[in-house]
Amino acid sequence: MEMVSTVQNTDVKQSLQKVNERLLEKNPAESLLFDVVLIATDSQQQSSRIISSTSHYGLEVGRFCFSSREDLVETLVVNNVQLFLSTDRDEALQVSQKGVLSALLGRQEAPSESLRVMLCGDAIVRPDCDPVPASRGAAQSFSARLGEMRGRFGVSGSPLSIVLVTSSGGSKSCGVALQTLRSRGLSVDEAYCLAGAPRGPILSLLRPHFLLGDGVIDLED
């Protein structure tokens, strides 16, 4: 699974790596792994700095790509990227509007044991209200792959945690989201139904590494 980041978010990469390690422990021939590509849209000058700091942190970044801002989407498509991670809201939105699934990186340092992926249930329940319909298909297939990966591990001690949050709508719609995700093969570990309550305080407790679905939302509400 290709995941691409424009940012040196070492925490997320370490967590992704941890998941790969655990998957390979279970099955050395495992093919469903995270493949991380670091993409730099700044000038070429940055490139050597990025490469050296990546090896400094011991991060196994599979590939480096240097692209310009204008060519970003094409680069992603050409490289068969399933998920694009960014801290830049506009960049992520732009990319998702062209059909490539993107997610915002969690801003706070999240020193957690596992990779915490947060899904926003509102778009799952009411797809007609999805602000970014173009990437909906990509979202569905990604969540199915994620579910497969999650299924390799047991309930406790998993290096990957799936967290569902529904912001508007009551408990019934959260139930629908849970069932929909399950039918796509994705089992959720934690579920929070906010029913209109402010998201900020809950998000700062949840500390996701990144957020999927719901178009692109502000992580600090």
């Binding site: 945690s161 408990s171 959720v188 570990d189 929070y192 407790l205």
Partner: protein, 368 residues
């Protein structure tokens, strides 16, 4: 918002009914009730109060519903089997637990408040806070729907501590079956109490919420209890007399009584004092003639009205509670909690203060 309408669709109830008969855990009147699903629509939007305006009551799944069977599966066979069991039985709603009548009564108060103040967010907001795994989520939501409970907010933390979420929800009261979690909440300044399942349950009012509180170490601090435990009854009386005009310090549930009082005043403002759907009681071992005076003066100084004060002068609390029939009674001493339960009152233990060093539950399995 089409959501509220979804609830009134006919759902496959047949399966639920036959399971109910098997479990025989609650009256058949439950599923014949046809309540108008609360369509809380305000100008087209669904209306959920902001946490800071509402009186937030967080309940765990183990006190809202009966989950003893599932608990046993968890304890005997581990978490994977427990979750498998829950998913298998997803369409079987849980039976009501000890906090259920209390939650229903909160909803009754909400209905009355909405009649009088349709735009107000000063309501009870009931949040399900459980450290259950989200795999149990669908069964819990099915159960909520089955019992026509209006619980729209929840946290299923999948094993991590719910305490942070309690604070984020600005929780006014937390009810759980787990004494450790309750102690954690109290340490964070959140009113909390442990609830236990009882076999005997006396009927409680369906139109009036009744909440009863012990005095020392619940509404008030445990300072007087300390004197009593260290120096005996005479010293206690002397101390109370000497300090009659000194206010007692506040206890962990003072804030909740305050929140109830605020809602009561909303009814009074509309001329509904006699018909108020909230009634509060102080049930204390203090005596009316002596040590009780300090308690009343303290309440008055805090601006808190309590509807009835029952001074037992050390007499057992069970019979008195059986007369007033509260939906919930808060006490810091397990001895009283058990005594109340024996007579069918739902009592909740507040693990606070000096009495905890002397607290030993008399019955095995009482703590859970």
């Amino acid at each position: 918002m089409r959501e509220e309408q979804l609830r009134t669709e006919t759902e496959p109830r047949e399966e639920l009914r036959s399971n109910e008969a098997e479990r025989g855990a609650y009256s058949s009147a439950e599923h014949h009730r046809v309540t108008g699903r609360r369509a809380r629509k305000v100008e087209g939007g669904v209306f959920f109060p902001k946490p800071e305006n509402a009186v937030t009551v967080a309940v765990s799944s183990r006190v809202l519903f009966r989950t003893e069977l599932e608990q046993r599966v968890f304890e005997q066979k581990g978490v994977e089997e427990y979750l498998r069991y829950q998913i298998e039985h997803e369409n079987e709603p849980f039976a009501p637990g000890p906090a259920f009548p209390f939650v229903k009564a909160l909803e009754t108060v909400n209905a009355r408040l909405r009649e009088l103040y349709p735009q107000s967010e000063e309501l009870f907001d009931i949040v399900l806070v459980t450290y259950n795994h989200a795999h149990v989520g669908i069964r819990l939501i099915n159960t909520i729907n089955h019992h026509n409970l209006f619980i729209e907010r929840f946290c299923m933390t999948g094993g991590s501590s719910p305490i942070g979420y309690l604070k984020a929800w600005q929780t006014n009261l937390y009810l759980s079956a787990d004494a450790d979690k309750v102690r954690e909440a109290l340490a964070e300044g959140i009113a909390a109490a442990t609830m236990f399942m009882t076999e005997k349950l006396t009927e409680v009012s369906e139109s009036q919420l009744r909440v009863a509180f012990d005095g020392d170490a619940v509404l008030f601090s445990d300072e007087s209890e300390r004197i009593f435990k260290a120096h005996g009854l005479d010293k206690f009386f002397q101390h109370e007399q000497d300090n009659e005009d000194t206010l007692l310090d506040h206890g962990p549930l003072k804030g909740f009584l305050e929140a109830l009082g605020k809602l009561q005043k909303k009814f009074y403002a509309k001329g509904q004092r006699l018909d108020c759907p909230i009634r509060t009681y102080l049930v204390t071992a203090r005596s009316a003639a002596s040590s009780g005076i300090r308690a009343l003066k303290t309440l008055r100084a805090w601006g808190l009205e309590i509807d009835e004060a029952l001074f037992l002068a050390g007499a057992p609390k069970g019979p008195m509670l059986e007369k007033i029939r509260p939906h919930i009674y808060f006490d810091d001493q397990m001895f009283h909690v058990e005594g109340a339960a024996e007579m069918g009152t739902v009592a909740a233990h507040v693990p606070y203060g000096v009495a905890q060093k002397h607290n030993q539950p008399q019955k095995p399995g009482a703590r859970k």
